[in-house]
Every structure is written in structure tokens, then in C-alpha cells.
């Protein structure tokens, strides 16, 4: 019996080693699955290989999966049109810089010609350092830290964190929502501190007064009674929450308990608030959030995307999926404009795309008439929504 067991185990091990040892056959496999799901059009013309990197496992897995799904939908749509054909391969980085560089090198072995990634900021900065050495074109859908696009070959699809903070402060001042502001933010989170720092600086310029500036960390994000009561006693008319929706739901619950009812203003991290489980969604009524994309929008493009996404993956897309979808279309537009062909190597493609990215104009899910300048940052107008009866209404 024991002998049999060890034989079986040995067999398993040999199989798994054999499967991972032959990297050439494995890439062929993954390519064909992508072909099967993505390209429904003419398969005869050579395809340009676009790589994607993001967290498919770990704490940030939802973002990576959304980006992969969004990008796959865009690739399938573009391939179905029958023009330029693309192959797409997405690799896991676990939200870690070292693994992201590994994933990048792995994609290079696969033959990647342009990179749509990475999803989160820290890995993106690490990969960008390799990409600029190789001269590989990089368009990050959602790496919002400033350093992600420090190099000339790197472009970004989403707003940067500081931009969101500045735009929020400007919007609040221009529309006269309030003059006394309270802020609660996550000091252990890059996204949250990025928005917070820029907001505070901009607020002083546009005449807003920050009367209460409270923080929490990812280790203390369950009880917000101290922060809420400080915000309440400071007499702030508007509470700015540059944080993710989970913590926001707890803050709103606490505010309801102590009867504090200022205007609540959030950024794109708040998208998802009405879907939080065990959260009284009536508390979200009147919450304002500035986000470039919402699945509740009713324009044709969003409706088509949301329908396709729900059909394929059984859930509503979030902003990351929309960013990835737009990013693929942006790469396609730049490739078409530059006349790039599949037989060019990645360095030549990068040179061509660096110029053409600044010349294209994209009507996407996350904004109309999006343009890029040489810095790699997009120019688009953010939209502000108010939650009314559980759905987003343009403010």
C-alpha cells in the first residue's frame, strides 16, 4: 500500500515538473486559449502580442481580475472587427514588485510587443524601470502613483492620485459645496495619502478650510468613532473621504449612529458603496463621488460594455475593468495611427507609439475625447455623481 502511494505521488510530482519544465509548450497552450476566447475574426494575419500584468491572487486580486476581464473584452471586440489582430496574455504579480518583474520577464519570453500594465502602483514602478531599459511601450490602466509614468515610454489611463485630490478640491470650491472641510483618510495606503496630500495643498489655494484632518491605518480600520466625533465637533460642512468603499460604509454607519449629517464627498475608491453587504444602503443616499466610470451610466457604450462583461463574467464591471478596456482601445488607436505591424520588434513599436499616443484622441468609457501629452498623463474630465435611490445620478 505504502509503495503504491509513493508511486502515485512520484507520478504526480514527475507530471507537475514535466509540465512546468517545458516552457515553450506551455506558452503555446496559453496563447491558444487566448486565441480561442478572444479572436473570432480572421486568424490568418499575424497578431501583435500585448502583455498584461496585475494581481490575480492576494489582497488586490479583484483589481487584477477586473483589468484582465476588461482587456479581454476589448481584445475580442477589436479582433472581431477583422482589422489589426491582437493576442493578449495576462500574468499574475500578486501585487508585489519582485513578482511583477518576474511576470514582465516571463511575458518577454512569450514575445510581448507592448505592455498594458501593471495594475497597481508599486509593481508598476518596478516594471517601469525594466521597461525603459528595454524600450518597451507601457500603458498602465490604473497605476495611479506619479512615479509610474516618470519615463518617456510610460503612459497612463486613469487619473493620478494627486490629480483626483486637486480636482476634488476644485470641484468643491467651484460649486460652493462647503468651505469647512473634514477629512478622514487611510495613512497606510498610497492611494489615499496621495489624494489627501494633494487635496490639502489645493484646498488652501482655492479658499477651503480643512478644519479636521483625521487618519487611520489598515490595521485600525474597523472602529471610526473617534474620527467621526472629531469631525462632528469641528463643525465641518463637508466630509471628504479619499478612501475605499468598505471603510466608507463603516464611517457612514457610525455617522448615522451619532446623528452627524454633512455632505459626504469621495473619489473613485467609493465606487461600490451601494453593493457592500450588511450595509444599510439608505445611508449612502446623497453621497457624492467623483469617478471617471460607473456601471450605472446609460450611454450606449457603457451599456454595451456592461452587458458584455456581465454575460462573460457574471458580475458588473468596476472602474478597473473600464480603464483596461479603454487602455486596449488606446493602444489599438495608437498602433493604427502609427502604422505598426506585427513583425516589428518591441523597441521599434515603442518608438512609434511614443509619438502616436500624443496624437490620438479616444472616446472611451472613462471619458470623452481623452488625449495624452508627452508626460504620459491623460487629459479627461471627471464626472461627479450623487447616489439617489441606490443609483448614481450625474450631479
Amino acid at each position: 500500500m505504502k509503495k503504491f502511494l509513493s508511486l502515485v505521488l512520484a507520478g504526480c510530482m514527475a507530471l507537475s515538473l514535466a509540465a512546468c519544465g517545458s516552457s515553450s509548450s506551455s506558452t503555446a497552450n496559453s496563447t491558444s486559449t487566448v486565441d480561442g476566447s478572444a479572436s473570432t475574426g480572421t486568424g490568418t494575419t499575424a497578431a501583435i502580442k500585448i502583455g498584461g500584468i496585475g494581481p490575480l491572487t492576494g489582497t488586490a486580486a479583484t483589481y487584477g481580475q477586473a483589468v484582465r476581464n476588461g482587456a479581454e473584452i476589448a481584445i475580442a471586440e477589436i479582433n472581431a472587427k477583422g482589422g489589426m489582430q491582437y493576442e493578449f496574455e495576462f500574468q499574475d504579480d500578486e501585487g508585489d514588485a519582485e513578482k511583477a518583474v518576474n511576470a514582465y520577464n516571463n511575458l518577454k519570453d512569450w514575445g510581448m510587443q507592448a505592455l498594458m500594465g501593471t495594475v497597481t502602483s508599486t509593481p508598476c514602478i518596478a516594471v517601469a524601470a525594466d521597461a525603459v531599459e528595454d524600450n518597451m511601450f507601457l500603458l498602465t490602466p490604473s497605476g495611479s502613483a506619479e512615479d509610474c509614468i516618470a519615463n518617456p515610454n510610460a503612459f497612463r489611463m486613469c487619473f493620478s492620485d494627486p490629480e483626483q485630490g486637486e480636482l476634488s478640491a476644485e470641484y468643491i470650491a467651484e460649486n460652493g459645496l462647503a468651505t469647512k472641510i473634514a477629512i478622514i483618510y487611510d495613512s497606510s495606503d498610497v492611494y489615499s495619502t496621495g489624494i489627501h496630500d494633494a487635496f490639502v495643498t489645493k484646498a488652501a489655494e482655492v479658499g477651503l478650510e480643512v478644519v479636521c484632518d483625521e487618519q487611520f491605518t489598515s490595521d485600525s480600520n474597523k472602529d471610526f468613532s473617534a474620527q467621526v466625533s472629531k469631525a462632528q465637533s469641528s463643525g465641518a460642512e463637508l466630509l471628504f473621504l479619499p478612501i475605499y468603499y468598505n471603510e466608507a460604509s463603516l464611517i457612514l454607519t457610525r455617522m448615522d449612529a451619532v446623528g452627524y449629517d454633512p455632505i459626504v464627498f469621495g473619489c473613485d475608491g467609493m465606487d461600490g458603496l451601494v453593493t457592500v453587504e450588511n450595509f444599510d444602503t439608505s445611508l449612502a443616499e446623497g453621497v457624492m463621488l467623483m469617478t471617471p466610470f460607473t456601471a450605472a451610466a446609460t450611454d450606449d457604450m457603457t451599456v454595451a460594455f456592461v452587458t458584455a462583461y456581465e454575460e462573460a463574467y457574471g458580475e458588473a464591471p468596476n472602474q478597473f475593468a473600464a480603464d483596461a478596456y479603454d487602455a486596449i482601445y488606446a493602444i489599438d488607436a495608437a498602433i493604427t495611427a502609427a502604422g505598426v505591424t506585427a513583425d516589428m520588434d518591441y523597441s521599434a513599436i515603442c518608438d512609434a507609439l511614443m509619438t502616436s499616443m500624443t496624437e490620438i484622441e479616444l472616446d472611451g468609457l472613462t471619458g470623452k475625447a481623452i488625449t495624452w501629452d508627452a508626460s504620459g498623463a491623460p487629459t479627461k474630465t471627471p464626472a461627479v455623481y450623487v447616489i439617489e435611490n441606490g443609483i448614481y445620478v450625474a450631479a
Partner: protein, 363 residues
């Protein structure tokens, strides 16, 4: 030099050194012939860093016999202090000088932390010590997460609140940015530097084990009371092992930090500490060569498993379990021993056989 005249330990150490050097030469030849995939060549420096981590942790866990769950904390101290130095210096010094100084600073800083943490912690034993090291690892991570340090014309500015609280003038640049860590690190590390550091680590650790100090440390592991009764200063030797281990972890951290463009405290969390411990356990407690092999294999393995896509980490876990089962299986042990003996030559074979039958322990 006659192999027969060398002691058993020396012979074993020689095999370890030759194995590492051979691996280096093979990789260099493959690289020269352009046969190395991008994927593997990108992993070489992390592999060196993890090998150093595993060997240094083995000093605490295998040789000293105390379970440490916060080893990544020392790695982060080394990574942050050395990266801070090299970023602050910038181009002011020639690269090799910056490199040597940065690595020395990383090593010393982690060593100092090792002493500071070791003094209270090493009074504890067993599970208590393990839990306290775990806590210290987390404390280091959270402290680094909260620090903002910038430099401008008036000098350094430190804050624990946020970047604007640094109040720097217009020449200021932020070096450590809280949770965002350090960005723009000069990627000076190369595989050759990593290899040199691995050999250096092996020399330090293997010689320490072989020395009088090493025997004292092992005697504490084997029987603390007996060691004390023959006049061994338990606290002193524990502290020596712990500090050397921490300093080497700092060295690994320096190497690691200079291989990526960015260092964040989040990377050096509990999971990384456990990962290093897994290397040590799979390689065998107290078995330095095993740590080297295990660290290298288990770092490459997740990358080789990329073809499994979504099931990658699941397969990784299964392979890990199988490895442990196989390592423990008596049949496999006998099988390996049989092969080893068949490969051995003439007189060496006889001598080894005699040793085996007398000690009954495989090294």
C-alpha cells in the same frame, strides 16, 4: 590538498562552496551563449538574496535552535537603510563606492537592530520567543510604513504624519514616502555581486559553525542547562548568533533593494518571514547546503508554474507538501543514500560507510 585528510565537516563545506561556484559558472556560460530566458535571468538577484536570507535564518533556527518569525523585519531594515543611503547620496560618489557603503550600512543597521531586539527577546525561549520575533517584525514594518523623510538645502526633515508636514523648501525631495516607500533606487545589484555576497555569507556562517563560538551555540541548542553548567555564557552566544543572522539578513535586504526600482515596507511582512522559514525547513534545519538549494528551487518554482495560470499557487503548495513528504520518507532516504554511496570513490566510500554505521546520521 588531499581530500582524505580533510575532516568530515570540511569536506561537506567544500561541496557546498563548489556547488555554488559551479552554479554561478553554469549560469554565466549559459548567459554568454544567450541560452538564458529573460524569466530566469531576472530572478537571479532575488534568488541570491533569498539564499542569503535562508542561510542566515538557518543560523538562528537550525544552529541556535530558536524559532524566529520576524526575519523579514531585519531584511527590511537593511533594505531601507541601504536604499536610503544610496538615494540620498545620488551621483555624488562613484557607483562602486556607493554600493559598498550602502551594503555595509544595510548590514550594520540590521545588526544593530538585531542586538536591540535580541537583548529583550533572547531572555525568552521556544514559543514565546517565536511570537515576540513575529511581533517585532510587524513593528518594524509598521514603523517604516509611517516614516516620511525628505532632504533639502537645510538638511534632513523627518515626519511621522504626512509629506506636507515635512515643511521643506523648494529644493526638497522626499526620500522615504510612508507607505509608498523609497522609489528611484539605483539598480546597482548584479548577479555577480549577489554571488559574491552568497559566498561571503557561506564563509561567515560555515566558519562560525565550525569555530569554538559555533560549538558553544550548538551546545545551547542541544542542552541549555548542560551548556550553562560547563560555564558557557548562554545570553552572549545566543546574542552573537542572533546578531550575525540579523546582519546577514540586512545584507540580503540591501542586495534585494538595489535590484528593484522601488522598496516598500509591505513586502517584508509576516508572509516573507514565513517564506524564508519554509526554505530553511525544506532544506533541513541546520543544513546550510540544504537552505541554499531550497531557497533557489522554491524561488524559481512559482515562476515555472506560471503555465498553470489560476491554479499556480495551488500547485505550488501541493509540490511543497510532496517535497516535505518525500524528504521524510525512509524509502527515499535510503534510495538517495544508496545512490550517494555508489557515486563515491574507493577509500572515501569505505571511510564514509564506517562513519555512517557508527553515527547513523546523514548530513
Amino acid at each position: 590538498m588531499n581530500l582524505k585528510n580533510l575532516g568530515r565537516t570540511a569536506r561537506r563545506n567544500l561541496v557546498t562552496y563548489s556547488m555554488v561556484i559551479a552554479a554561478y559558472i553554469i549560469i554565466q556560460v549559459l548567459a554568454a551563449m544567450d541560452l538564458l530566458s529573460n524569466s530566469l535571468s531576472g530572478q537571479l538577484i532575488p534568488i541570491c538574496a533569498y539564499v542569503i536570507m535562508a542561510v542566515s535564518l538557518n543560523l538562528t533556527v537550525g544552529v541556535l535552535g530558536e524559532l524566529s518569525l520576524g526575519h523579514a523585519g531585519f531584511m527590511s531594515v537593511g533594505a531601507f537603510s541601504s536604499a536610503f543611503f544610496s538615494v540620498a547620496v545620488g551621483d555624488a560618489l562613484p557607483t562602486p563606492v556607493t554600493l559598498v557603503l550602502a551594503f555595509a550600512i544595510g548590514m550594520i543597521a540590521a545588526g544593530v537592530f538585531g542586538v536591540l531586539i535580541g537583548i529583550p527577546v533572547l531572555r525568552l525561549q521556544g514559543d514565546y520567543l517565536a511570537i515576540v520575533t513575529l511581533a517585532f517584525g510587524e513593528i518594524i514594518k509598521n514603523l517604516l510604513n509611517a516614516f516620511y523623510i525628505g532632504v533639502d538645502s537645510t538638511g534632513f526633515h523627518v515626519s511621522m504624519k504626512d509629506a506636507t508636514a515635512l515643511k521643506m523648501d523648494e529644493t526638497g525631495r522626499i526620500i522615504i514616502k510612508g507607505a509608498q516607500g523609497i522609489t528611484g533606487v539605483n539598480r546597482m545589484s548584479t548577479f555577480t555581486i549577489g554571488f559574491v555576497l552568497v559566498v561571503l555569507t557561506l564563509i561567515i556562517v560555515l566558519n562560525l559553525i565550525k569555530s569554538r563560538t559555533g560549538r558553544a551555540i550548538m551546545s545551547i541548542r542541544d542542552n541549555r542547562i548542560a551548556a550553562e553548567s560547563v560555564g558557557i555564557n548562554v545570553t552572549k552566544y545566543k546574542l552573537i548568533a542572533f546578531t550575525v543572522s540579523a546582519a546577514l539578513a540586512g545584507l540580503a535586504g540591501s542586495l534585494y533593494a538595489h535590484s528593484l526600482a522601488t522598496v516598500v515596507a509591505k513586502k517584508f511582512d509576516y508572509n516573507t518571514s514565513i517564506l524564508i522559514l519554509v526554505f530553511v525547513v525544506v532544506g533541513g534545519m541546520g543544513n546550510i547546503r540544504g537552505s541554499v538549494i531550497a531557497a533557489a528551487v522554491l524561488t524559481v518554482l512559482p515562476e515555472l508554474l506560471r503555465s498553470f495560470a489560476d491554479y499556480r499557487m495551488l500547485v505550488y503548495a501541493i509540490v511543497l507538501i510532496l517535497m516535505m513528504l518525500f524528504k521524510q520518507s525512509p524509502q527515499i532516504k535510503n534510495f538517495c543514500r544508496g545512490i550517494g554511496e555508489r557515486l563515491r570513490l574507493g577509500s572515501l566510500f569505505h571511510r564514509r560507510k564506517a562513519e555512517n554505521s557508527s553515527s547513523g546520521k546523514e548530513g
